[in-house]
């Protein structure tokens, strides 16, 4: 069953077409990787889905309901949660408060003890429960990443968008991170993840979509994609002889 | 009737434009929203009167002294007061608020000094006060001079900005300060120059207003408001825009005063101002 459907999504910035007529579907419960070199339009596409940017044209639906044309907060309330490529935490709020926000303002609109317990669960899941009262500004980078994931989880989302959530982690942390994401898919959340760390993509995603210069150049199994000459060329270049 | 409105409006608009040029440079290049701008114009106005009445220096000659003095004062203000705020804010965007609050303090400071030094009296001089016939409309010579100063200063400024290397540097910093160091421009230095140049223009504006208008030490905020309105209308940092917006505002005010109701001139000014802010915050003459 298709959860997220993207058809002919296009985003232009002035003369630049950042996302060019991209279409693909994500089934419920699936975890799908989005690959592509820097600047190929992956983050822009994520922004179109989450409502951070309005699409120039095309249509995006979640479980049949259109997302295009809605504001970010409305989309968030339909059950879409995300992390950001550059970590965005709320430095003046405590960890619990950071994580509570989507629980309070999201689809379920919890408040009081319920919201706190949702936040506590999310923090527990990412391993930050013991620091719940600390200020988010004091966290290390990896903990900030964890916090951001916890915040996305507290939304109890049906669709989770991860934008290079694993970037910048050391090998131990990476292994923990991969295990964490796997535990999420096991609990039934649908995940679309932009990722550069191929080990992680291999480990987590049976299927990937690959973008280059705003276009979708591949939508296939991970094994196929990583040996697809188009994909390799997209990453490493064509090797022009000059 | 229409011609009269046109002539009077342009002359009025010329002085408005002159008033706004400095503020648009200060905010455009140095990113300082200077609420003490009007007080600096007043300071120059008082100094012009002092030079004229106390020392007998003719106002047009006094301008030659006041402009560089204004530059010096701006240089000093930026170095002592603004630069630490700029350094502290980094890219956090708090500079706007900090500069508004700090220059609000400066506003009181200068006003206090003016009150103590020059008293609370209305001040004015009579200088070339006779009427000149322009297309059948009588206009005071001193206002024409102020208009001419505006045209000359405005044109020179536009040309300098458009044609010279220094002007190009100023424009570069105004538009994309983050890129300026890549070509070797010391943003801090250019910002200081821009602020100082803006102060010099404020001084020239104040001095030319002193030639024809009665003023007192508490009038500064009126000048600041007018300049602010024009700067926003013209697009922040846009010198050509400030010139056009100043002229346009003069025309609008004159038109409202003659055709609608003098009681609504200031209301019209602010309504246009707020309208522009909402409809095109980048200014009527801004790009994009």
């Amino acid at each position: 069953m298709t959860l997220l459907s993207i058809s002919s999504a296009t985003k232009k910035f002035g003369g630049l077409t950042a996302v060019d007529n991209v279409s693909f579907n994500v089934a419920k419960g699936e975890i799908i990787g989005m690959l592509g070199p820097n600047g190929s339009g992956k983050t822009t596409l994520i922004n179109l889905i989450s409502g951070d940017l309005p699409a120039t044209s095309g249509r995006i639906t979640l479980a049949g309901d259109p997302l295009t044309g809605k504001r970010a907060d409305q989309i968030a309330r339909t059950g879409v949660a995300r992390t950001f490529q550059l970590v965005r935490i709320l430095p003046s709020l405590s960890l619990t408060e950071n994580v509570m926000i989507p629980a309070v303002f999201g689809a379920k609109a919890h408040w009081g003890e319920t919201a706190r317990s949702v936040a506590r669960d999310a923090l527990l899941r990412v391993g930050l429960a013991d620091r719940a009262a600390a200020n988010a500004g004091q966290l290390t980078y990896i903990d900030q990443k964890r916090l951001e994931l916890a915040r996305a989880l507290a939304a109890e989302p049906t669709l989770l968008l991860l934008d290079e959530w694993l970037a910048g982690l050391n090998p131990t942390e990476l292994a923990e991170g991969i295990a964490l994401i796997r535990s999420l898919t096991d609990s039934g959340i649908t995940i679309l993840m932009v990722e550069h760390i191929m080990e992680a993509v291999r480990a987590l995603c049976p299927r990937v979509v690959v973008m280059n210069s705003g276009r979708l150049i591949a939508d296939e199994t991970t094994e196929t994609a990583l040996t697809d000459p188009h994909v390799i060329a997209a990453y490493l270049g064509e090797g022009h002889d000059a | 009737m229409l011609l009269t409105t046109l002539v009077l409006g342009l002359v009025l608009g010329g002085t408005y434009a002159l008033l706004a040029l400095g503020l648009t440079l200060q905010y455009g290049i140095a990113r300082i929203m200077n609420l003490a701008y009007g007080e600096i114009t007043l300071l120059a106005a008082f100094i012009l009167v002092f030079l004229f009445q106390g020392l007998g220096i003719p106002p047009l000659a006094a301008l030659v002294l006041i402009a560089p003095a204004g530059y010096g004062l701006g240089w000093l203000l930026y170095t002592v007061m603004m630069q630490p705020l700029v350094a502290r804010s980094g890219s956090s965007g708090r500079l706007d608020v900090d500069s508004i609050l700090a220059t609000f303090g400066l506003l009181f400071l200068i006003q206090g000094v003016l009150l103590v030094t020059f008293g609370a009296n209305f001040t004015s001089i009579s200088y070339l006060d006779r009427g000149i016939n322009i297309l059948g409309v009588s206009v005071a010579l001193n206002r024409l001079i102020a208009f001419a100063i505006c045209v000359v200063v405005g044109t020179v400024l536009v040309l300098v900005l458009a044609r010279t290397r220094w002007g190009l540097n100023l424009r570069a910093v105004a538009q994309t300060p983050a890129s300026a160091p890549l070509v070797g421009i010391d943003v801090n230095r250019v910002a200081r120059q821009g602020f100082a140049l803006g102060t010099a223009l404020a001084a020239v504006g104040g001095a030319s207003i002193a030639m024809y208008q009665t003023f007192s030490a508490t009038d500064g905020v009126v000048f600041t408001m007018k300049a602010l309105v024009i700067v926003i209308m013209g697009g922040v940092g846009n010198v050509g825009g400030a010139l056009l917006a100043g002229l346009a505002l003069g025309l609008v005010e004159t038109f409202v005063a003659t055709a609608i109701d003098p009681g609504l001139t200031l209301a019209a000014t602010f309504a246009i101002f707020l309208g522009v802010l909402l409809w095109r915050p980048q200014g009527l003459f801004g790009k994009g």
Binding site: - | T4, T5, L8, G9, V11, L12, V49, F50, Q53, G54, Q111, G112, L115, V116, T117, F118, G119, A120, N121, F122, T123, S124, S126, D129, R130, G131, V137, S138, V139, A140, L141, N142, R143, Y212, Q213, T214, F215, S216, A217, T218, D219, V222, E253, T254, A257, T258, D261, P262, G263, T265, L266, A267
Partner: protein, 405 residues
């Protein structure tokens, strides 16, 4: 030519400083052999200009004069020096109200002198009444004075109301019209605040009744600095008489604009500021013939002496409208104290019933109001002289039409 004289302002400043410094001393001693007089007047903000010309210099001049003469004479024949407690109301009514409370309940001064401006005086009237102080209001123009006297029996209103000035002006213009000097068309502008509105509301029916036609009648907002368009309209209206119920910036701006554009109506009347000593300078020496609110009996020896002393002590001459009345009000106070002491109730009674000899002549108040006032004055031979009421002692004949600029 000059309104600005550095040495003079500096002197005025040091005078003020001396007064300010005496504050602490006076409060500390507050002995029986002094009379403490307090006031809160605008030294900063928009009201500072008006207060700085009309109110503060006269308070300071009077205190200095009295103290140099050995102090205020008391009913028992002794003399008591004046000590001053002075605050800045920052042109804000809130601060003013608090300053009055301070003078009354903290400093416990004997007399409180009023602030500058109609709004300020009204703002403190209930307080002054409650604290039992008399309020010797001078710089207010209001038609409601009789009503206010009823409400606050110790309040005094010494500058008339808008209707008075408007009728005075209309009376004078009617005479000129009857003499065939001017046509029946009037161009009138008024500043959009309480003062301007009061005057124009009084003037409209008065003009109409006298057979004048208001061919141009507009108000302009406070803060207007450009009058070219207004003056141009007035000039094109064809009226022989130009009347402006204006404040100093407007009065000055209109004068300069009229001069530069060669607008020469037969009657050129302006509001506040026309009687200021700096006006001839503003008018580039061509003030003669300009009509304005107020006036003094310029031929009176007492007035001439007052002008000379004011110029000497303060550094510049007083204005020719409210200054002399302000000073006269203080003289009245001085004489009343000599009779009944510093009890405010007795003083109020005495002020209303007594006859006083002041620089503006013999003064007798009617129902707490000074009614014997100059409504219209005119610059003649470099002096601002009262011309209406025409039957008032010392009235000069109005010079109409005004000579061209």
């Amino acid at each position: 030519m000059t309104d600005y004289n550095r040495r003079a302002t500096l002197r005025a400043f040091s005078l003020g400083l001396a007064a300010a410094l005496s504050v602490s001393a006076s409060v500390a001693e507050a002995a029986d052999d002094t009379v403490t007089i307090g006031y809160a007047v605008a030294r900063t903000g928009p009201n500072a200009t008006g207060a700085g010309i009309t109110t503060i210099p006269n308070y300071e001049l009077w205190v200095k004069t009295v103290n140099e003469a050995g102090g205020l004479a008391m009913p028992d024949g002794t003399k008591r020096m004046i000590e001053v407690v002075e605050y800045d109301d920052r042109s804000s009514n809130e601060d003013l109200v608090r300053a009055i409370e301070r003078l009354a309940s903290q400093d416990k001064v004997d007399i409180i002198l009023p602030p500058w401006g109609t709004g300020s005086n009204l703002a403190i009237a209930p307080l002054m009444d409650r604290f039992g102080y008399l309020q010797l209001g001078v710089t207010n123009v209001t038609d409601k004075a009789p009503e206010f006297v009823e409400r606050w029996p110790r309040s005094f209103w010494m500058l008339g109301g808008g209707h008075d000035y408007a009728s005075g002006l209309v009376e004078m213009l009617s005479a000129a019209h009857d003499a065939g000097i001017i046509n029946n068309e009037v161009a009138v502008v008024s500043v959009a605040d309480g003062f301007g509105i009061d005057l124009i509301n009084g003037a409209r029916p008065a003009f109409e009744e006298a057979g004048f036609e208001l061919v141009y009648d507009e108000s302009y907002p406070l803060g207007t600095s450009d009058f070219a368009a207004i003056m141009n309209e007035a000039q094109n209206s064809g009226a022989d008489s130009f009347v402006a119920f204006s404040y100093p910036p407007g009065s000055f701006g209109m004068t300069k604009t009229a001069q530069s554009m060669g607008f020469n109506p037969k009657v050129f009347f302006i509001g506040v500021g026309g009687a200021f000593p700096i006006f001839p300078g503003i008018a580039d020496g061509k003030a003669d013939g300009v009509l304005a609110i107020g006036g003094v009996n310029a031929d009176s020896g007492a007035i001439q002496e007052y002008f000379a002393r004011h110029t000497e002590v303060v550094g510049n001459p007083p204005d020719s409208w409210a200054s002399a009345i302000t000073y006269a009000s203080l003289e009245m106070l001085e004489q009343a104290i000599a009779k009944v002491g510093v009890d405010n109730d007795a003083l109020a009674e005495e002020l209303n019933s007594g006859i006083f000899d002041t620089i503006i002549g013999e003064v007798k108040l009617e129902d707490n109001q000074l009614r014997d006032l100059w409504w219209v004055g005119q610059w003649q031979d470099g002096a601002f002289k009262g011309v209406n009421p025409a039957d008032k002692e010392g009235a000069a004949d109005p010079d109409i039409p005004k000579p061209e600029w």
